[in-house]
Symmetry: C2
Subunit: 272 residues, 2 copies
């Protein structure tokens, strides 16, 4: 796949979670994939320092660490400080935040968003100290109650804009924001502020599975115009990695290297 | 249940679809339920004129007919004209429109919304002739690709505002718009224009079922502050029926009259 321009491509570890970290880094090196997005759980299982050495030795950039957050429910700030430390140890400058939904029995999304902003304010000094940026990722409104009260880029920016852009920005994930007619203007605004701290791709396919977590479609299989989104981020001045992050039971059931190769091809076909 | 103020309550037929139309009208009359929202399929199965006579004889108001639309996919305008005729025959002034998603293979939501606006323009004269208002209902963004490209009240108003308010308005359904921080302002604007043509309640409960169609929660079971929404619509000047519309496999598996009684109690508890 050396004929493709993969300079901005990154594979999120969850896309091919059937691969061990050594299998993943070996496959990336062989295929010319320059970046990986990592997840805390498998990294800690492997050992943070060992994982850092593995990706460093393979010449891979760690584009993001997923994820901190869940401020309104189970997450606590100590655990989020640990996530910031892990990001720094892995050599990535970006921790993605999935902010959390309503507390048990809660019905007040605006209050949940304020609680999220308060938590980001408490975390920001530690992130600054470690040289890690926080990317507030809006999740699709179908997750508003149980995973993330921040449903739009405008809402994410409303929190991020309280902080320096070098410290707190937003994560743009096509799966979560593709439906939103206000997202293009928000992308432009975030870009002008230097606040786009991650860009992730997944396609929208239906029917959605029970629980709506593992239905993120392979690039090109769904309703999202990926080239339009890549062009939109380019126009907003974003020059960073483009990470493909799929949670998909059908992809997880297949050979991981085969899925990685397919994802590289789809990325090239639909965004380059 | 005669001690409750049910003057604005309406039960959507789908909430208790296990009841035949005669069973439904009999139970409504006995419980003091003054209104029903009807669906085209069961009404046509029973016979439109026979259904009209049945609800009239039971003293029930038909608050809405669901539904026309699907302009971008399977729906055609002749079928929508028939839906308008059926609404008029049933004595309701409101046909709810679920507008349709992307055409097969499509990726352009803005174009789909324009196609919807064009279809509404073609239908409007027939609706005016029959004295039926069209209520454009935004559906939750999780239905954007396959059921309704209109995902927010702002988008619905952007189409409705091209027409006289007496002819084309919006449908406000808590399940679809509860997450949207811009919905309160849109409700106020729609109300000021006299454009709120239906108001439906369902609660947001998780996990969502496969296909995300039949997970509309019983009032009070989920994350939506129903009293806040009722108050919001009141403040916007809306004085019409409040229709409870649930699609829920667990409710459908129970005795229909028992579900209707429960729904009346929940409505009273959470909105009055």
């Amino acid at each position: 796949m050396t004929d493709l321009d993969l300079s901005r491509f990154s594979i999120n570890q969850m896309t091919v979670r059937q691969l061990s970290l050594p299998e993943l880094t070996e496959a990336c090196a062989r295929l010319g994939v320059p970046g990986v997005g990592l997840w805390r759980e498998p990294v800690r299982e492997y050992g943070v320092e060992a994982a850092a050495k593995l990706v460093r030795d393979a010449g891979l950039a760690v584009t993001t660490l997923c994820r901190g957050g869940f401020f309104t429910t189970a997450g606590d700030l100590d655990d989020n400080r640990a996530a910031i430390d892990e990001a720094a140890a892995l050599g990535t400058d970006t921790l993605v935040l999935v902010s959390g939904g309503l507390p048990p029995g809660g019905k007040d999304l605006a209050a949940a968003r304020e609680r999220i902003a308060d938590a980001v304010a408490e975390l920001a000094p530690h992130a600054a100290e470690r040289g890690v940026r926080l990317a507030i990722e809006p999740l699709h409104p179908m997750y508003a109650s149980d995973r993330c009260a921040i449903s739009t880029l405008d809402q994410a920016l409303a929190v991020a804009e309280r902080f320096p852009a070098s410290l707190v920005g937003v994560g743009v994930d096509t799966y979560h924001v593709w439906w939103d007619d206000r997202a293009p203007a928000a992308v432009a605004r975030a870009g002008a502020q230097g606040r786009i701290h991650s860009f992730q791709l997944a396609d929208w396919v239906t029917p959605l599975p029970e629980g709506v977590l593992n239905g993120r479609g392979q690039i090109g299989d769904g309703s999202i115009d990926m080239r339009e989104w890549r062009t939109r981020l380019d126009a907003a001045g974003y020059r960073g990695p483009i990470e493909v992050e799929l949670f998909n039971d059908a992809l997880w059931a297949r050979d991981g290297v085969e899925v990685l190769e397919e994802t590289v091809r789809r990325y090239a076909e639909h965004t380059l």
